[in-house]
């Protein structure tokens, strides 16, 4: 089988660096604007209108920066993790069709070490701004701000254990990613089926680890922002969001590579299967979303429904638009557009939908994190766009660099022939 090497031209690399540079510039403009207090007037009016009863302190630019870093890092780490998850699922399922595109999800995992480092640094620097539960006074019974509910969660939500868990998650993920990748590249050079069988065993182990860590990291990094609130669906909800964004990222990468003349043996049949994945898991995400929403909406218990009242009309309806946009972009749009067989086999349709899904699930994470941290002060300005651009640029740099390290076609994979003749 012919090897295919991805060559990242200097021009493409420069584009990614330009993306980062634009992001940094926007970020600086946004931060300066916020630090100098441009557009702060209406806050003063707000405070006056409320009679100053509640000392409404507008969020600082550092808080806004930290929460944006956190949001993007959780989102991109999720996509990187899903890359590893996708490969392992294919191994455990003895899948043949995906062999030709296997190197793409595999290379997504190269972001994991960066994600881990950023996560750790942002938590250590901005933990207090992101997580309410990190404040010591909540646990001090003599403090007027003592919170018995949060204090009751101390055995799980405390600084040391949180940090240990974070290190363990990333440690395990990176370990399994490297292990799988090493086997995969060694298979290219040595051939034989021993690497394949070994990869299946590694994958099975990873899936057990993933099952636990994906849910727990979702509680830690996203759910614990709304410290009082709880949802047994939440691990699944974040997983569904990560999984469908990861699938959209894989599909989009395959299409872009193919349009640039790579992946010559990938045809409409492989795209069809990827399209089916995007279609199906958009519906899966909606199912999880609805299962979480409906029970809370119906029972209408204050401590549960607060999460949705904040997003539906709370903060003067600030999140109402995003709430419904989330459903339209992530459910209605992929559902209607990808319904027909032809749409799943055409690059243009898939490209449109995967870009929408990737943006939509970024918004989904925005909606999960902003009301609990920025409250009424969340915005969508230079800081948000700038941070997202920086992360996107860094992610694309690591992803393409990783992708170029090995052949795009796993030349000695035992199911390669089956994948080439894949037909649906």
């Amino acid at each position: 089988m012919t090897e295919e090497r991805l060559i990242i031209s200097r021009k493409t690399n420069n584009k990614f660096f330009l993306m980062i540079a634009i992001g940094v510039v926007l970020l600086i403009v946004g931060i300066v604007a916020m630090a100098l207090g441009w557009g702060e007037d209406h806050h003063a009016v707000d405070a006056a209108a409320h009679g100053g009863a509640v000392a409404h302190e507008p969020a600082t630019w550092t808080k806004r920066l930290y929460i944006n870093l956190w949001l993007n890092n959780v989102y991109f780490t999720g996509i990187a993790l899903i890359g590893v998850f996708f490969v392992t699922v294919q191994y455990v399922a003895y899948a043949g069709w995906s062999v030709l595109i296997k190197r793409i999800p595999e290379a997504l995992g190269y972001y994991l070490p960066i994600g881990g480092a950023v996560m750790l640094i942002v938590f250590l620097l901005g933990g207090h701004d992101i997580f309410h539960w990190t404040h010591d006074y909540l646990y001090d019974i003599n403090n007027p701000k003592y919170d018995p509910i949060i204090a009751g969660k101390k055995s799980y939500l405390n600084f040391g254990f949180f940090l240990v868990r974070m290190v363990v998650y990333f440690g395990l993920w990176i370990l399994f990613f490297n292990w799988l990748r090493r086997n995969s590249v060694a298979e290219d050079l040595q051939g034989g089926t021993s690497y394949y069988h070994k990869s299946i065993r590694i994958s099975a182990m990873f899936l057990v680890v993933f099952g636990v860590t994906s849910s727990m990291s979702a509680w830690d990094w996203v759910l614990s922002i709304d410290t009082h609130w709880f949802s047994t669906m939440f691990g699944w909800y974040v997983f569904a969001s990560w999984w469908v964004s990861g699938l959209a990222a894989i599909t989009l990468a395959v299409i872009i590579l193919k349009q640039n003349g790579y992946l010559k043996m990938v045809n409409a049949n492989h795209l069809h299967d990827l399209g089916k994945f995007c279609f199906a898991f958009s519906i899966f995400w909606t199912y999880i979303w609805f299962s979480q929403f409906m029970l809370y909406w119906y029972a209408n218990m204050p401590e549960e429904v607060i999460y949705f009242t904040e997003r539906l009309g709370g903060y003067e309806g600030k999140y109402l638009g995003i709430f419904f946009a989330n459903l339209i972009i992530n459910f209605a749009f992929p559902f209607l557009v990808l319904m027909t067989r032809d749409a799943k086999r055409q690059m243009i349709m898939l490209k449109l939908v995967t870009i929408a899904i990737l943006f939509g699930h970024w918004l989904d994470f925005y909606l999960m994190m902003m009301p609990g941290t920025m409250r009424g002060d969340a915005g969508f300005g230079f800081i948000e766009v700038g941070t997202a651009l920086v992360f996107l640029g860094v992610f694309l740099l690591t992803f393409t660099k990783g992708l170029a390290k090995a052949s795009l076609v796993p030349v000695n994979h035992p199911f390669l022939e089956e994948s080439i003749h894949h037909h649906v």
Partner: protein, 174 residues
């Protein structure tokens, strides 16, 4: 009235696929091909057009969806309004599970019924078995011999040259 068929028996699916292409290229119309298992790509080779059943399914689903919504809105909103759990009479989120189920029910049943009607399948339908080995390990290509065609030897030859291991004739009572 009896119908006459020429049957080409094949024992390899790849040979069969090329044979189908060649037979059709020679201008002979194939009545049907019988196989013990689904063969990849045989639809394209036989020139079978894509089924329009999914389009029917979409409209059945759309009908089920609107029917379910109309039913619940009319029953609980207008005909017999009841307050359930302090929710408004027309509480859309609560209607979604039923709407989903009825959409699936209508789409599934509609599809099955449409399929039976379009293919004229009914309990009394008799399907002629041309060769029992087509349920075991052989592939059978049946070509109808139209009235007035006498040159069966040519057909015979066409099938044989394209890899048939056996060519039979059969009359079927229609």
């Amino acid at each position: 009235m009896n119908k006459k068929f020429v049957l080409g028996i094949y024992d390899d699916e790849d040979v069969l696929l090329t044979a189908i292409e060649n037979v059709r290229a020679a201008g002979t119309k194939i009545y049907e091909v019988f196989s013990p298992f689904p063969i990849h790509g045989i639809d394209d080779v036989l020139g079978i057009k894509r089924s329009r059943l999914p389009i029917a399914a979409f409209f059945f689903g759309l009908f089920g969806c609107s029917f379910a919504l109309w039913m619940q809105i009319w029953m609980l909103g207008f005909d017999w309004p009841m307050i359930i759990g302090g929710k408004p009479h027309i509480a859309l989120p609560a209607f979604i599970p039923v709407t989903f189920e009825l959409t699936v029910l209508f789409a599934a049943h509609g599809m099955v019924i449409t399929f039976f009607i379009v293919t004229k399948l009914k309990p009394s339908t008799k399907v002629p078995v041309f060769d029992k080995r087509s349920t075991d390990d052989k592939f059978v290509m049946a070509i109808e011999v139209k009235d007035g065609v006498t040159d069966i030897a040519a057909l015979n030859n066409l099938l044989r040259t394209n890899g048939a291991i056996e060519v039979n004739q059969k009359e079927v009572l229609k």
